[in-house]
Symmetry: C2
Subunit: 406 residues, 2 copies
Amino acid sequence: MNTNPYMKSFITGLVCPKCKKHYDHGQIQHLCDCGSPLLVEYDLHGAGKHINPESIKNRSANLWRYAELLPVQDEANIVSLGEGWTPLQKLDNAGKRYGFGRLLLKDEGIIPTGTFKARGAAVGISKARELNVEAVAMPTNGNAGAAWAVYAARAGIQAHILMPCDAPLITRNEIVAAGAHVHLVKGLISDCGKILARSLPAHNWYDASTLKEPYRIEGKKTMGYEIVEQLGWKVPDVIAYPAGGGVGLIGIYKALKEMRELGWIGEKLPRLVAVQAAGCAPIVHAFGKKAKESEFFSDSKTIAFGINVPKALGDFLVLESLYATGGNAIAVEDAEILESVLELARGEGCFICPEGAAVFAALKKLRAGEWIKSDETVVILNTGAGIKYPDTLSFDLPYCPVDGTV
Amino acid sequence: MNTNPYMKSFITGLVCPKCKKHYDHGQIQHLCDCGSPLLVEYDLHGAGKHINPESIKNRSANLWRYAELLPVQDEANIVSLGEGWTPLQKLDNAGKRYGFGRLLLKDEGIIPTGTFKARGAAVGISKARELNVEAVAMPTNGNAGAAWAVYAARAGIQAHILMPCDAPLITRNEIVAAGAHVHLVKGLISDCGKILARSLPAHNWYDASTLKEPYRIEGKKTMGYEIVEQLGWKVPDVIAYPAGGGVGLIGIYKALKEMRELGWIGEKLPRLVAVQAAGCAPIVHAFGKKAKESEFFSDSKTIAFGINVPKALGDFLVLESLYATGGNAIAVEDAEILESVLELARGEGCFICPEGAAVFAALKKLRAGEWIKSDETVVILNTGAGIKYPDTLSFDLPYCPVDGTV
């Protein structure tokens, strides 16, 4: 019902973007020997003979419509809850107010689990099933753990999730409800990661930490394919993204390059923008210095906990995507984020997560500074639904007497 | 991006299902003079010459794909956040365990605002805009108010929402964030309704209370069209629905009758099942007595607050849909609901709301009693995402020491 009749995957292998070493996708792989994440390679020439924008057009409304460009080889291994093909919404009021030519919101809140983490989990867990994985393990601040837990449950794979005790309660409940083993830690996600690293030797667990398995990126990259397809196979001028681990940005950039090689889009790529919180802006600092990698951002703090990542494993790939597309990196204050949450809810009916709102806050600045021109098409990548963040806002409200009127 | 190129609406007017009086859809209408809700009528003969299942097939993945059978006449009035075309998920594990031929979940959690209320609000607000409404008002237990508030915000329509002070905080925040005027009441939704009724004469507000405006049903009925289309224009044997106000069931039954008249499906309709909580089961009691209407259910109480409706305005329409299709009505205990939430999350990766889980609990009984046969196709209508109910579950979890292993 939710998946396409399965079509051949054109996967050919895995490659290290740093040292170019190749790895076999038929075996479980994690990082390269040199410590870099691995990327999936495809026979794009072969795929291009098999499919084209026209033949994709009428496929099912989920991310499996791009099956030839995804790593799962046997349809039977697909674990799906109907994820993907999220709406690309017009933000006409906000667009007019700030003088954007065309402002759009790719709304990843309308997806299983309420955040874009579902894409990475769907493809990651499907490929894990194909590789006969019996148990996955990962540290999480909440949303990724929730997504991996529910997809693992659907696949019949055991999940071990390590999370800070102050991660959002709803994600904790979601993970426990899905039958995962939850390990609460009085510490940060980095502490959870260290505990997991120490624990792995004693278990036969598949390490699903961000970028330590190569397939999550492939799920995330479908956001790039969808944006372009939803615009009639035209690229926007700018795609702006709230960068924590940055996997989505890495994925979107990968998708754009694949589409260019397939001949589905022209040479020119959208300018990619990484948005961070001022309280945790390692990519922004590195970009300002034209550095290839970021430095650990000490004492990081922001209400947008999804982008509270002091040092991302894939930072060099994020930065590469910005430099290569003539992009940008910009930080916004928490107060600006909260203001933008309300502005989009009131002006557009879009109640989105703080991370997505951070992007809007940043774009206002980039437009005001004319880095974005008045005739450009700009896409905000919103990574999750506002309803998943019940504690971000609080309001004092008056009561109406039961026998009164309003 | 989210809407189809607009096609002609074949709306012809409004009719009272009780006294058959007709009303003009070009004017604002609420209840019939006789007190009954009104239903929308279409020129189905004309619509059938204009569209058919084949021509709908490749339209956009949202409820506006059925535009000819919706009441909005001018495309410019459509207020959309990309709602509809939610996944129809296979529940193979649960199906096997209880001996279902084919068990499916229509997952209305994957929609703007996280509940199926978005459908009614999208169509209701769009039509309100067409009727030049400047302000809407309604009582709510949370989810409906949230949906109407965000769609009103997108339409530039003012919203006045009256809600009990103990309605879920996330929906309250959603409503305030969307800029609606919230009136908190230390009482029940029925008290909110009474305050609104007393207040209406002093304001030029459009009363959007359940079934007091005729267009919410039209949004909800698209669930019926989608289920049938997603099954390749075949009807399932059973569609089971958590009945509070029952608008969804009324809408699905209306859609089925329209599709039958259009010749898109055969004579036989699915058996419709209304599921209620044992602590609030007026429809189940009425069904047991073969009554045409329900009686007020005193001191109602259930964790599934979305179906805590002691007496629904459309009860006679709900009961008619059950009788006419050879359907059923069944109540389940709160403990069974909680057990079913966990069973579906663990067994299928579907973390759904208590109302949806109540349906699964009921179907297990109907299958065990052979009211459902082993070769039948059964659809569970899940009305919302589990993540919108952060307080339904609570778990005691052990801590892992920061310097430990797991």
